[in-house]
């Protein structure tokens, strides 16, 4: 049985088209951290057919189970990257120029896709809009980024398709599998907005305020589209036919809106914009969360915190002096999660610009060193992202009935030197494998 499983894993890791089998697996006598409740220093957890069957100090282990001795192991819910690109095909080569200056600590590493114009109704009609595209449809199980994610202890990614203004629908999927359709947990978790400020070339919208106005127009158009369709559906006779518009369909189908916000001014701006659009809102970026926590708490808006903490740009102009405020932000950004936790703001971590998944635990540790409790840090990697994206009935904690995604570490998750023992994804055990040729999405 063990041999079979190991060989299955090897096959899967090699990307061969044979589905791994999730049988019955149990970890006995491990330190369990369910995230949804207090930890169990000495407990058992039983997984069956890809789901968690039981967890507790003395739950019986079925005779047919493949048993792992949990002595010295800490078992966590599978880690979730709350805003990812793992598993999505690499972007077409970007110009090598330095990234545009400006208020962009919030900008995640997302795929750059060519701007598309879909309608001939004018320059401000439907450019930079991929709202209908779903990350699930782009997922490629063969990509090395998925193996790298597993090696870093992650079991799930919530990914978004690109860097357009309307970047498309995010999808939640597990980072292991041979067929993308089996990896997907939820195909549409939200519409991601980015602000690709491009200046005067390249068409409308080219500025931050142009993009904001454009989004406002699109949401207004979507409401108009919906009411026109409703009126037409009632009785089409005598009415002009509302034109089919997949860009608006994509917007309407999105259950929530993700807006970027790094600085306090941006957090304030985007909370108000989300309220104006009357959309369930999630912000991402969060470099100045330590300044904006009260606003987020008052508006009950969750924040996805970029684990690439703001730092001085490499090759920065040595004659340009950073303001005291910018220096303070760099110094205090890692305190943000602790401040959010204290203010009662729901938050989750995302890989953002951290280029090696293996560095993510170090980045999380920075927040823990800056005052975030380990319990909250664990939730920000598991239960909170699941809740923010409405997946917590399936994911995010060690509870019976949930998907059998586990991260198992020989030691403490927040000790960045502690070794990842294995991950379990959909009930299948994955040992950390040596990484193949590095392949990033950048």
């Amino acid at each position: 049985m063990q041999k079979l499983l190991v060989s299955t894993v090897l096959l899967a890791a090699a990307g061969l088209a044979q589905s791994p089998v999730a049988g019955v697996l149990a970890i006995r006598g491990a330190h369990l951290h369910p995230a949804s409740g207090p930890s169990l220093p000495n407990g058992n957890i039983v997984l069956r057919n890809g789901l968690i069957e039981s967890i507790g100090p003395n739950v019986p282990i079925p005779p047919e189970a493949f048993v792992v001795d949990g002595a010295g192991l800490q078992v966590y819910p599978g880690l979730i990257d709350a805003l990812s690109t793992w598993g999505l095909p690499a972007a077409p080569a970007r110009p090598t120029a330095a990234p545009a200056p400006g208020p962009s600590p919030a900008t995640p590493a997302v795929l750059e896709r060519p701007i598309q114009t879909l309608d001939e109704g004018g320059p401000e009609e439907r450019p930079s809009n991929n709202s209908w595209v779903r990350a699930a449809d782009l997922l490629d199980p063969r990509l090395a980024t998925l193996a790298a994610a597993r090696n870093a202890g992650y079991t799930t990614a919530i990914s978004f398709p690109g860097a357009n203004v309307f970047s498309g629908q995010g999808s939640a999927y597990n980072v292991a599998g041979t067929r993308s359709r089996q990896m997907v947990i939820e195909e549409g978790v939200g519409q991601m907005i980015t602000f690709p400020v491009r200046g005067f070339g390249g068409g409308f919208p080219g500025s931050l305020m142009g993009i904001i106005s454009y989004i406002r127009q699109i949401f207004s158009d979507a409401a108009h589209y919906r009411s026109s369709q409703a009126l037409y559906a009632k009785d089409p006779r005598g009415l002009p036919r509302p034109p089919y518009d997949r860009a608006l369909d994509g917007v309407i189908a999105s259950p929530r809106l993700l807006l970027p916000a790094g600085r306090l001014a941006e957090i304030d701006r985007m909370i108000r914009f989300g309220q104006e659009l009357q959309q369930p809102l999630v912000l991402y970026g969060g470099a100045e969360s330590f300044r904006g926590a009260a606003l987020l708490a008052a508006a009950k808006v969750p924040m996805l915190v970029n684990l690439r903490w703001p730092e001085a740009e490499r090759d920065a102009d040595p004659f340009v002096k950073d303001s005291l405020r910018v220096l303070e932000t760099r110094d205090l950004a890692p305190t943000g999660p602790a401040v959010l936790a204290k203010a009662g703001v729901k938050f989750a971590f995302y890989s953002g610009g951290v280029e090696r998944p293996a560095d993510l635990r170090k980045a999380v540790k920075k927040a823990v060193d800056a005052g975030l409790s380990k319990e909250d840090a664990l939730k920000a990697l598991t239960l909170y992202p699941a809740q923010i994206f409405g997946l917590d009935n399936r994911l995010g904690s060690l509870e019976p009935g949930k998907i059998a995604n586990l991260t198992v570490i020989e030691g403490d998750l927040f000790d960045d030197r502690a070794k990842l023992k294995f991950t379990i994804i959909d009930g299948v055990k994955y040992e950390p494998a040596p990484e193949t040729a590095p392949e990033t999405n950048r």
Binding site: G102, F204, S207, M209, G210
Partner: protein, 443 residues
């Protein structure tokens, strides 16, 4: 909660800010601008000017400030600035009336503090001049340390930026910027863009009216799509939005006035208007104001005929005239000296010179019932200087907005050393340690 941390970086005098809304400033020379000079005291209550007089006595509950013979003047109003915003130009298209400066106000822009330190308390934050019909502008009070929403000058009439001439015809074209050529490339084209936009706006207006009529008749009819580009232009047609038009040459000024008259609306201000003195009578007849530079000229081809007498000549022709900065193009901290230049170029009186940066721009923005002069009942936006504000040697000592101290020179000076220390310490702390794992592959 970490709001406190944010506030600590502000330059608020805590003893003064905590006065419960009442200040009594005594021993001051009060330049009201509209009602002459009063040597005496000024009382601020609940953010408004409650009294001005030679023989006032301090109420018991008011915090008293001795001006030591210094001057009080109204907070400066800059009718044309590009401060405190994260975006200025949507230059990709020639009509970008859908964009709003208010969407991108940046209360953390240090230019706000710098303007404040120069006595500027109100700014008309305008869209740039990259296109014929730019974006919607935002009148703000320079409430440094407050949020974007709190900066907005509540009740100010909405405005929109237009632009004519070289910037418009060169931007987005092949000469300055890469990418596709953007119409127009000539002044003729600029005029055409204005006309086309307002023809579209009229059509949109008709479409909306027709929908309402048919709906009222009980017909089944699809509502028209809201167009955020044309709505502000309809507001211009209906007199509900002020037009602030960047322009230089007299011919383009006349063109715009005629085009506006043809569509039945008024240009509220001609911004810069460096050749306005040539057509001042026509401008006065149209009813437009002029907001110009004091003595900037010859910095571009269309500025060759500019003269420093422009403001004085326009004023004498009956045009409502102000001086602006276009900050950061010229600096808000130069505005007092700019006003003083009209004493030399045009022989204006002290009050006339001060009116160019206080009550006149306030009138241009239609906020003169609130700001622009020191009068009982107006907002307590007050600049306290040690010498006459038109003197080169004058220093701004305190600036009040709505009766709150937003700038305090003594406190600013005290904080400089401490801020320098913090900077140094942070730079040292943030120095990257050798972290091999942070090394990134080739991009």
């Amino acid at each position: 909660m970490n709001r406190r941390l944010f506030l600590s970086s502000l330059v608020l005098a805590p003893s003064l800010a905590a006065a419960g809304g009442s200040f009594f400033i005594k021993n001051a020379k009060i330049l009201t601008v509209t009602k002459g000079r009063v040597d005496g005291a000024l009382l601020i209550r609940d953010g408004k000017i409650a009294a001005i007089g030679a023989n006032l006595t301090a109420p018991a509950d008011a915090l008293t400030l001795d001006a030591e013979g210094g001057y009080l003047m109204p907070g400066i109003v800059d009718c044309h600035a590009h401060v405190g915003a994260d975006a200025i130009n949507e230059g990709t298209i020639s009509v970008s009336s859908m964009v709003r400066i208010e969407d991108v106000l940046a209360p953390d822009d240090v230019q706000i503090y710098r303007g404040l330190a120069a006595g500027v308390t109100t700014s008309n934050v305008l869209h740039g001049s990259a296109n014929t019909i730019g974006g919607q502008c935002s009148v703000v009070k320079m409430r440094w340390g407050k949020s974007a929403t709190q900066m907005v000058f509540a009740g100010a009439k909405p405005g929109i930026k237009f632009a004519l001439g070289e910037n418009v015809k060169r931007s987005g074209g092949g000469t300055n910027f890469s990418g596709t050529l953007r119409y127009p490339a000539t002044r003729m084209g600029v005029e055409d863009v204005v006309r086309e936009a307002f023809n579209d706006a009229r059509a949109y207006q008709r479409q909306r009216d027709e929908y309402q009529t048919r709906l009222a008749k009980g017909e089944r009819v699809l509502p028209p799509r809201r167009d955020f580009k044309l709505e502000p232009l309809v507001e211009v047609l209906e007199g509900r939005r002020l037009v602030h038009a960047h322009c230089y040459r007299s011919d383009e000024i006349l063109m715009l006035l005629r085009a506006a008259e043809e569509f039945g609306f008024r240009i509220r201000t001609l911004q810069h208007g460096l050749e306005a003195y040539k057509v001042a009578k026509e401008i006065a007849k149209h009813g437009a104001g002029v907001s110009t530079f004091a003595d900037s000229w010859s910095y571009k081809i269309e500025a060759y005929d500019a003269i420093p007498y422009n403001a004085a000549l326009c004023m004498k022709a009956g045009v409502l005239t102000s001086l602006n900065t276009d900050a950061p193009v010229t600096q808000q901290r130069h505005l007092l000296q700019d006003a003083a230049k009209t004493l030399r170029y045009g022989q204006l009186t002290d009050d006339e010179a001060l009116s160019l940066i206080t009550i006149n721009p306030a009138r241009q923005l239609m906020i003169e019932d609130r700001v622009g002069s020191l009068e009982v009942g107006k907002d307590a936006d007050i600049v306290f200087t040690d010498k006459h504000p038109l003197s080169l040697y004058a220093k701004v000592r305190k600036v009040f907005i709505d009766g709150e101290v937003y700038f305090d020179r003594e406190q600013d000076i005290r904080q400089r050393a401490e801020r320098a220390e913090r900077r140094k310490a942070l730079i040292e702390k943030l120095k990257p340690a050798a972290r091999p794992s942070q090394k990134k592959g080739a991009r």
